[in-house]
Symmetry: C2
Subunit: 209 residues, 2 copies
């Protein structure tokens, strides 16, 4: 729920997305720390992508890649790379996704941006700039992805507390994908939530010039 | 609209957000390149924030800052830093936002995460790591922000084609904020859209291990 009455009134009056959608994606949605045993299906995971794929990236680069860590051995290997406080919940979550950036995303641009073939060379000539573009746009897509998980009626528990070099060495040994966020996904358990932390006031974040 | 029939069926069956919400935020929403003269109100901009502020950031850091460039002089200064192909639309948009990362976000953590006062020192001791955390989490919030603009019934035109060092020197001369994305916002004109570019197939993006 909005933390101030004027916030609630502004949402009522000026947001086109209906109250149920606002609640599902933004105002009442929370990062879950515990999940029920109810499984998440392969079709649900694909449906999440069928939403998350649409919002924009620079030059339609779409560098986000998703590794779903499902087998017991793979899950154990991932858990070993998590920060101590993230281990138990990552071991127990119905689904765990490693969100990563593909630093060779430009090899797909003939498919993704066929009218601008020069983009392949543009990104191909500078490995550092391409890795930074991959990271930037994959993080942006991670934001879309987290809201798409919520749109599927599921709870996400995104975490940056893990050894990303270790995750990359274990799961992406050829160096092409670089891990960004690990996300636990499922139906929230009754004790899934910490208290909501404060957010910035509008005046702390926004200026007009 | 989903680009494949199975995508549409998956959205129907497995997404809780209703069809209108899916369309507004994901499947039919597009990045606009031209806008009508209809203004965007101050209340609409605040309502966008009242949604965008909720989704998660690491350690509740919330480093995204928004500069709305409204005065004619400021708009002209911004346009001069845009890439050639972005100038006319940035000059003409009803509202233009510069999304930036606050590299000193940690000064707010006593407010944002009062139960973990050690976070201020944790982030305070390493300027480079803090700048990277600011960038990472502000880009994630930029993804939320773009979907919140759409939730307000408005169209966004996000751009990374601009001289960010020039924008920072002009608008953030003390070095605390670092520009990430410039976003044109308004009601889309009839000719606002390019053709939708392809997206990745599921199999190109997702793996299971």
């Amino acid at each position: 729920m909005p933390q101030n009455p004027s916030g609630a009134a502004l949402l009522d009056e000026h947001i086109t997305l209906d109250a149920a959608g606002q609640s599902l994606l933004f105002t009442d949605a929370r990062s879950a720390n515990a999940f029920t045993d109810e499984p998440v299906s392969a079709d649900q995971l694909q449906a999440i992508w069928e939403l998350a794929k649409y919002p924009p990236t620079a030059a339609n680069t779409n560098p986000l890649r998703i590794l779903y860590v499902t087998s017991p051995d793979a899950r154990a290997a991932l858990v070993a790379h998590m920060a101590e406080g993230n281990r138990a919940k990552t071991a127990a979550a119905p689904v765990v996704a490693v969100l990563a950036a593909d630093v060779d995303f430009h090899t797909y641009l003939p498919q993704l941006f066929p009218s601008r073939p020069q983009l392949v060379d543009h990104f191909g000539q500078d490995d550092d700039a391409r890795a930074e573009a991959a990271r930037f746009n994959a993080i942006l897509q991670a934001g879309y992805y987290l809201l798409a998980v919520r749109a599927a009626g599921l709870a996400a528990g995104p975490m940056t507390g893990f050894d990303s070099a270790g995750v990359d060495a274990t799961f992406f040994p050829d160096g092409r994908y670089r891990s960004l966020i690990v996300v636990n996904i499922g139906h929230p358990a009754a004790d899934a939530w910490f208290d909501r932390l404060p957010r910035h006031d509008y005046e702390q974040v926004v200026r007009f010039v």
